[in-house]
């Protein structure tokens, strides 16, 4: 499975589309999540939320629902909608790898969220198609070595 390599301009482009979606749909925040549970990009008011866990759970929820879909003969469901008292979550399929998670409250409506999500997904798809072709660039941006990781773990968990 290919690694995802995101450069600054990729994030900028994703944020641009997600920001546009956020304002047009009047959502609280929006996350672009890989189906593995990795958070790729987010926009909106996310400080009060643990977006990492939210991304993992959304991916898990989507994966579970996909398994249900396959049991009834569907490949997968393209839209999930969880309605709460005031806050709701709209999860839509972007492509075979990613999902788009929108959290919104009663100041907007699911129809608008769905409409704007479908529009934004087209733009996100363009960017993701480019991201799949990203490569590592040069030595100076190389990821850290395992020795450094081991030392950092020693610092994090001393004597364990």
């Amino acid at each position: 499975m290919a690694n995802y390599i995101l450069y600054k301009e990729d994030i900028d482009r994703l944020n641009k589309v997600l920001g546009h979606l956020l304002s047009s749909a009047s959502a609280t925040f929006v996350l672009l999540v890989h189906k593995d549970g990795n958070l790729l990009a987010n926009q909106g008011y996310t400080k009060a939320f643990d977006t990492t866990a939210l991304a993992a759970l959304a991916a898990g929820s989507y994966a579970a629902t996909r398994a249900i879909a396959q049991m009834i003969g569907e490949n997968e469901f393209t839209v999930l909608f969880h309605k709460g008292h005031t806050d709701n979550i709209h999860i839509s399929l972007v492509d075979e790898d990613c999902i788009l998670v929108l959290v919104f409250d009663d100041r907007t409506n699911p129809g608008l969220v769905r409409l704007e999500s479908e529009k934004a997904i087209k733009g996100v798809n363009l960017i993701l198609e480019d991201i799949r072709h990203n490569e590592f660039t040069d030595l100076e941006s190389a990821p850290p070595k395992s020795d450094s990781v081991g030392q950092q773990m020693e610092r994090l968990f001393p004597g364990l």
Partner: protein
Amino acid sequence: MASINYATREISCKIVYYGPGLSGKTTNLQIIHRKIPAETKSEMVSLATETDRTLFFDFLPLDLGSIKGFATKFQLYTVPGQVYYNATRKLVLRGVDGVVFVADSQRDKMQENLDSLKNLQENLKEYGIDLGSVPFVLQYNKRDLPGVASVAELDQQINWFKVPCFEAQAHQGIGVFTTLKAIGKIVIDTFNAKYTARQSSRRPSSLPDSQSTLPHPPPASGSAASPPPPRPVPAPMPFAAPPPARPAAAAPAMPPPPIPPSRPQAPPPPLPSIPSALPTPRPSAPVGAPQFTGFSPPPPAPPAATMPGLQPGFFPGPGAPATPPVAQSPGLMDPMAPPPPAPMAPLPGLTGFEPPPPPSRGSGPGSAAAATGAVPMGSDTTARKKSRLDGTLDPSDLDAEIARYERELSEQKTAPPPPRADTGRVVTTPNVNPNMEGNDPLASAFLTPEELSRLQSPDSYPTRRMPLGPGQQ
């Protein structure tokens, strides 16, 4: 799937704790969560039953902090161990970067260990992952219990791939962090091996220096979709002079139209001396032609005498007298391509910049190239992808896409509502059924007794469906 984010200088890897039920997978994560320093501690998410058995997964993000400028994060997952939760186990394994198999050391649990290991192998195979190739360590847990199998015995039974194994008593925290450190190192080593393999595959050492600095060497024809490198093999960096570093953190805010500077971009190649190769040079934009203001020309290329290779992102600088300036968008011009049969007309749609339609996934023929009016280079798909990789079309694509959305939205708001075809279909439309009695709209849905009796007669269908011939009457 490990993801590396150069914008936030962040690496994220997924590690899954696998094993039979009640072997101590969740306990491993709980101990790790308990020992994480408070300043970096995150919530541990457990989807468990009321009896604290894992129902879906446990999730613990582990932030190792900044290592050489990269924030390294491990996402630790566990799976439910019970046999009947295999569907959810399979889901959690998606995109895994490393696996810790937590085995129960008790002798009577050996068969469960073996079954779980086989199940792990099968589930990974469904994702196209070979257990022998994925970062993988074993943890022999519950070493404090009486009657446990010896390490040699466990090695012989379940350590099929001779991977590192560690004794542990997870509930006391013994061996938990040794295992975590080991799998973390192996995952990062594998990540680096992939990095090295990609570097060496992209920059073959046989290339001269002038070509070895090209981030994307021009592929041979027909090899646009080259397969990924098979198995990462650590290799020394083949080139001496590293290419220009990507200014990830210090990059300024992205100006919309110009090409993003930090994407791996081919430097402007030496200017080819090809006036004779072009029998009819492309005419420049006629006077009075609408000026295309969406793009600014890239920095001029240094002229050179030789032509080592041509890049799809080639654009002549102002110091190039051989090729007249062209008004269309840069990036998709291939100087080696045969010239167009007719002089290129002023590009349509430059006035006001008609945004191109969004190219559909799966690469329709010449979607992006046709939208910009540029000359397609060989395969349309290749040209589009390469041009996007070079960054020449990215901002315009997005701006055009967003502009189109906004235009559609405004048109929807301003346009008068279309007449609804189904307005009053039930109530106000006069019923055409002559057999309808009264004003009951539902009456048209039923047959009258006469019609029913006519249909029930055996010879009614031929006479109703086709006229009889003269001799048949």
